[in-house]
């Protein structure tokens, strides 16, 4: 309530500065016409700054007169445009890429330029472009959004190769992944080793880890906002990429000049086909299909319809007698999302962004053997909508964003059907479908009361309506920037978040078949309060940027499981859910160089993450499973010639936590016919696994710039020194001595990769 008053007072205060004329503009790349989101605009001599939105659009109010509009964007020549503004005006600004830009590998941890970063209130945010994602060597040579994100501050990965991310001590399900505005529940293919986001069509990735604007909510730890290509091209473009894991195709076609176009993209692993040639049965494949229609009916309207579907399919027949009869096992898992966006600019500097989306996620496992059948199914269907009204120049140096959103979840979690003998020990589930509606309204107001201070205050009121219960959560947000000088700023933020749906996954291992489950009358919403303080410094002499950030996050009503809970095919898992507290804190350092022949970043995170449940560990605090103390990465690229670029990633992460068996004892079995060996465990998550570190190297050779037909070869080594990065602690017999010992297996050793890409 106090925050609402504060916003109101700031609004009243700021309208004292009467606006006179409004400059509205769109920032685009000169050659492709692709909009440049978050470009920074400075209007002189009034020193009015504004940032373009995701569609490259901005507006700013100012006194009439002769103006210099300075537009900056990383990797592009700074544009200075002189214009006399005497009445409201619309303009398009086209930026050219920097010289040699195409020949260099440019990596930005944040798309905002260094100066822009310093000026904005934003911290705790990482941004990646398509170029960033495609530049670095990753597993199998397949460019991967999530794997790249895991190399940035504040984000810790799960086991080696996993697409799970753990942001600032949170859990893997505390990240809201939005793909063109629609939530995606399962972010991985290949049982977790590859993310579902086709790098060909990803335009920009924004990962917000703290200081959340009020327009975002629904998860405790991060918002991962992935946008796909949104430019209407002047001509047909096509590209293909052939790697050792998958092949990708992309086609972009204009239909009405500057008004209507579409693109489609597909990706499929073909390792099953290659294996078939070699007479090896590998009954698994995955595919993705993406498509988008872009429509600009007027200069003020922008309509986009986006589609994604992707599935993993496994169909296996175990035929002992080669008679075509045996055990068949099938595994299908997939997402499908559709979203419709409509942006409209009004004449009075307001614009809106309205969106509707549908998303579905389901998995089906079926197995037939003899007279037995087993089916496990989980299904989520979301229908949602969001409306935002924004004015970037509601007053002098002030902007306002208001809106609301609603999403209706229909969930059928863990439906299990069994028949035959197997039904004797695995009962068919009586789990019934659940329906939940989440509603939120939000307002965000940003103002710069003095040249050195910028304040962004927001308030979000969220609610969930479930059977027999309604939950309401006020979520205040605040971000403040203080400029020490032109080169350095201090920022502080506070955000409260609430989460109404969670993923039921074992702490030992998470799988694509983990169950999403909403709040109920007995399972309360999870909430988090996070404060963060950042110091950021621009080092123009070296085109470098340094930031250090510290955070503290307190979490309540976290969902956990009773000791001994088995979640696999558990039809009564609801009875095993418990709720407790969490806390996480740490420091994040980032030093990056984002232009020139030599680019890259060094990231180091020092962090702690704790959990406490009344019925676990005697109610004492214990380490979270992925409480990894040190987490760092060195990412370097070097463009040593027009057509050659080399890259390397070295990653070092402290071992995650585990609870291995440390003892055992003999007990008479209940049937008195045998002896039980009963295991004894140490305190939960008290054992730290060995640290993980890995070196990936890659080299890229491209065709001569300027040719119509462009190609490139990207080859390299994943895990160049063949280090096992532990995924678990097992007891195994030494192959030489036969004595039992603990060992920590890794999944991927040295793995060469090569990919060949073409585009025209």
């Amino acid at each position: 309530m106090r925050v609402s008053w504060a916003i109101g007072l700031m609004f009243i205060f700021s309208i004292g500065f009467a606006q006179k004329v409004i400059l509205r503009g769109t920032v685009k790349e000169k050659d492709s016409g692709q909009s440049l989101p978050l470009a920074q605009i400075l209007v002189l001599p009034d020193s009015i700054s504004a940032a373009a939105n995701d569609a490259g659009e901005f507006s700013a109010s100012m006194p009439p007169g002769m103006k210099t509009v300075v537009i900056t964007y990383v990797g592009y020549e700074t544009l200075r445009h002189y214009v006399r503004v005497v009445h409201d005006v619309n303009a398009e600004f086209q930026l050219e890429q920097s010289v040699n830009q195409l020949d260099e590998v440019v990596v930005n941890s944040d798309r905002l330029s260094n100066e822009e970063l310093l000026r904005s209130t934003r911290s705790s945010t990482n941004m990646l472009s398509s170029e960033d994602i495609n530049a670095i060597p990753v597993l199998g040579g397949e460019a991967d959004v999530i794997k790249t994100l895991q190399l940035l501050p504040g984000t810790v990965r799960g086991i080696d190769g996993s697409s799970d991310i753990f942001v600032r001590g949170g859990a893997a399900d505390q990240n809201l992944v939005l793909f063109d505005g629609a939530p995606v529940y399962n972010t991985s293919h290949l049982f977790g080793f590859l993310s579902v986001f086709n790098p060909d069509i990803v335009s920009q990735v924004e990962s917000i880890n703290g200081g959340f604007p009020a327009q975002y909510g629904g998860r405790l730890s991060s918002i991962l906002n992935i946008s796909t290509r949104d430019a209407i091209p002047d001509q047909t473009h096509a590209s293909a990429d052939i790697g050792i894991i998958a092949t990708r195709l992309f086609l972009e076609q204009p239909l009405i000049k500057k008004k209507l176009s579409f693109w489609v993209s597909g990706r499929r692993t073909y390792i099953d086909k290659v294996a078939k040639v070699a007479n090896i049965s590998l009954p698994y494949f995955f595919y993705d299909f993406n498509g988008k229609i872009l429509f600009r009916p007027t200069r003020k309207d922008n309509i986009e319809l986006s589609h994604y579907s992707g599935f993993d399919k496994l169909a296996y027949l175990r035929d002992r007698n080669n008679d075509g009869v045996g055990q068949t096992t099938g595994f299908n898992i997939g997402n499908s999302t559709q979203s419709l966006h409509w942006n409209h600019n009004y004449n009075n500097s307001w614009y809106h962004d309205a969106s509707l989306y549908r998303t579905s996620y389901k998995y089906l496992i079926h197995s037939d053997f003899g007279s037995n059948t087993l089916q496990a199914l989980s299904d989520i269907r979301d229908l949602g909508g969001k409306f935002q009204l924004t004015n970037e120049a509601i007053a002098h140096n002030a902007s306002l964003n208001v809106g609301g959103e609603v999403v209706h979840h229909l969930l059928s979690p863990n439906v299990i059907n069994t028949s035959g003998t197997i039904a004797e020990f695995l009962n068919s589930s009586k789990t019934r479908g659940r329906s939940t509606t989440e509603i939120a309204a939000f307002v965000q107001y940003e103002i710069q009361p003095t040249p050195n201070v910028r304040v962004s205050a927001g308030f979000r009121e969220s609610a969930a309506i479930v059977e027999n219960a309604h939950y309401f959560n006020p979520e205040p947000r605040l971000a403040v920037r203080y400029s020490i000088n032109e080169k350095s700023s201090i920022k502080a933020s506070y955000a409260r978040m609430a989460q109404y749906i969670h993923r039921v996954s074992s702490s030992a291992v998470s799988t694509p078949t983990d169950i999403w489950y909403p709040v109920t009358d007995s399972i309360k919403p999870q909430t988090a309060n996070q404060v963060a303080i950042a110091y950021q410094r621009n080092i123009p002499k070296y085109n470098a940027f340094f930031s250090v950030e510290t955070y503290y996050k307190q979490m309540s009503q976290l969902v956990g499981y009773k000791e001994g809970t088995n979640l696999f095919f558990n039809t009564h898992f609801q009875n095993s859910l418990i709720q407790g507290d969490g806390k996480a804190y740490g420091f994040e350092f980032l030093l990056r160089k984002q232009s020139g022949k030599f680019t890259g970043w060094i990231n180091y995170t020092l962090s702690w993450s704790w959990r406490r449940y009344e019925s676990i560990n005697d109610g004492e605090w214990f380490h979270a499973r992925y409480d990894r103390r040190h987490n760092g990465a060195v990412v370097l690229q070097y463009a040593f010639a027009n057509r050659w670029a080399a890259s390397m990633v070295w990653e070092y992460i402290s071992g995650s936590r585990f609870t291995p068996v440390v003892g055992q004892y003999v007990m008479a079995s209940p049937a008195i016919t045998g002896i039980d060996l009963v295991p004894v465990y140490p305190a939960i998550n008290s054992i730290k696994m060995s640290d993980s570190h890995r070196l990936d190297v890659g080299i890229k050779y491209k065709s001569r710039p300027g040719n119509f037909f462009q190609w490139q070869i990207f080859a390299g080594l994943y895990n160049a020194y063949n280090r096992a990065n532990p995924i678990a602690i097992l007891v195994a017999a030494d192959t030489k001595t036969g004595k039992l010992k603990y060992e920590q297996p890794g999944l991927f050793g040295l793995l060469p990769f090569v990919s060949y890409g073409i585009k025209f």
């Binding site: 290659v274 294996a275 040639v277 070699a278 090896i280 003899g370 007279s371 003998t421 004797e424 074992s506 030992a508 291992v509 499981y561 009773k562 000791e563 001994g564 809970t565 088995n566 979640l567 696999f568 609870t659 068996v661 440390v662 003892g663 055992q664 004892y665 003999v666 007990m667 008479a668 079995s669 209940p670 049937a671 008195i672 016919t673 045998g674 002896i675 039980d676 060996l677 009963v678 004894v680 465990y681 140490p682 060995s690 063949n722 096992a724 532990p726 602690i729 097992l730 007891v731 195994a732 017999a733 004595k739 603990y742 920590q744 890794g746 999944l747 991927f748 050793g749 040295l750 793995l751």
Partner: protein, 278 residues
């Protein structure tokens, strides 16, 4: 061309598969310090207490010789006493096993265990002897289904009034097998008579996926036990086998032993052995 492609494909797959297996890393983990473990059993009026030491996780696994393990872990120097109704009974030592015959077992009476080993310390526990209950009726039927077979157990119990906790177990034991005595695949059905008090409780359950052979046998038991032991068995049954043991949340099983591990529970066992083929 086709042959080359095939050769290259096979080579690529072999390289990819072999390169994906790095050598696992070793790790030192502090092992559980040895604790005294109590397990108890009543057989035809004789109370048997097995006193052992816990062992480390690296001291035994499923391939370990059961009898060797018990020999190594047994505590043979202990003084073991049971006190009840003001009378103290000293148990006789047979290696690591301690036994007494003729100690009155009275339903509802409390029994206190005390065991002291100069090397391994002292443990104590108390338990209440529940009312002995036998099956009203019990039978086993085996059925062959394709390559597999199953044993179906039919039972009924005359439930006396009052709160009772039953454990009905069935285990398939292969003829002459020793190894299967270690962590045997037991189907244990736990029955809380809440809502069924004073009725005839009946039912059936199956031991699935066994390949029965003539000479194998199935043992079926009924035990009326205390609530704490009932909870232990229920938890153990839920978490002991298959994928549950691999991906379930770790759990330390409850114990009623002060200063040690295991369970001191005295109860009557109604045991029936059904030999396959007879």
């Amino acid at each position: 061309m086709g042959s080359s492609f095939r050769t290259i494909s096979i080579a690529a797959i072999v390289v990819a598969m072999t390169s994906c297996i790095p050598d696992p890393l070793d790790l030192e983990v502090d092992q559980l310090k040895p604790k005294l473990v109590v397990t108890s059993h009543v057989d035809q009026g004789t109370v048997d207490i097995l006193l052992t030491r816990s062992v480390g996780a690296l001291d035994a696994n499923d391939d370990t010789d059961l009898f060797e393990l018990i020999n190594e872990a047994s505590v043979s120097d202990a003084v073991v006493r049971i006190q009840s109704n003001g009378v103290t009974y000293d148990l006789n030592a047979f290696g690591g096993a301690y036994a007494i015959s003729g100690m009155p077992l009275v339903a509802g009476q409390t029994y206190a265990l005390y065991a002291h080993s100069a090397k391994d310390g002292t443990v104590s526990a108390t338990t209440v002897y529940p009312q002995p209950i036998s099956f009203r009726d019990v039978s086993v039927k085996t059925t062959i289904i394709g390559n597999d077979s199953l044993a179906q157990v039919f039972y009924s119990i005359d439930d006396p009034s009052g709160q009772n906790w039953y454990i009905v177990t069935a285990a398939h034991v292969r003829s002459g097998a020793n190894k299967e005595h270690l962590n045997p695949r037991i189907v244990a059905k736990t029955i809380d008579d809440t809502g069924l008090d004073g009725t005839i409780i009946g039912g059936d359950f199956k031991i699935p996926f066994i390949e029965v052979q003539t000479g194998d046998f199935v043992t079926v038991t009924l035990q009326n036990v205390g609530k704490d032991y009932f909870d232990y068995v229920k938890l153990r049954e839920d978490t002991q086998f298959g994928i549950a043991a691999a991906v379930g949340e770790p759990v330390n099983y409850p114990t009623n032993i002060q200063g040690g591990l295991g369970f001191f529970a005295l109860f009557y066992i109604d045991s029936h052995k059904f030999t396959i083929g007879e």
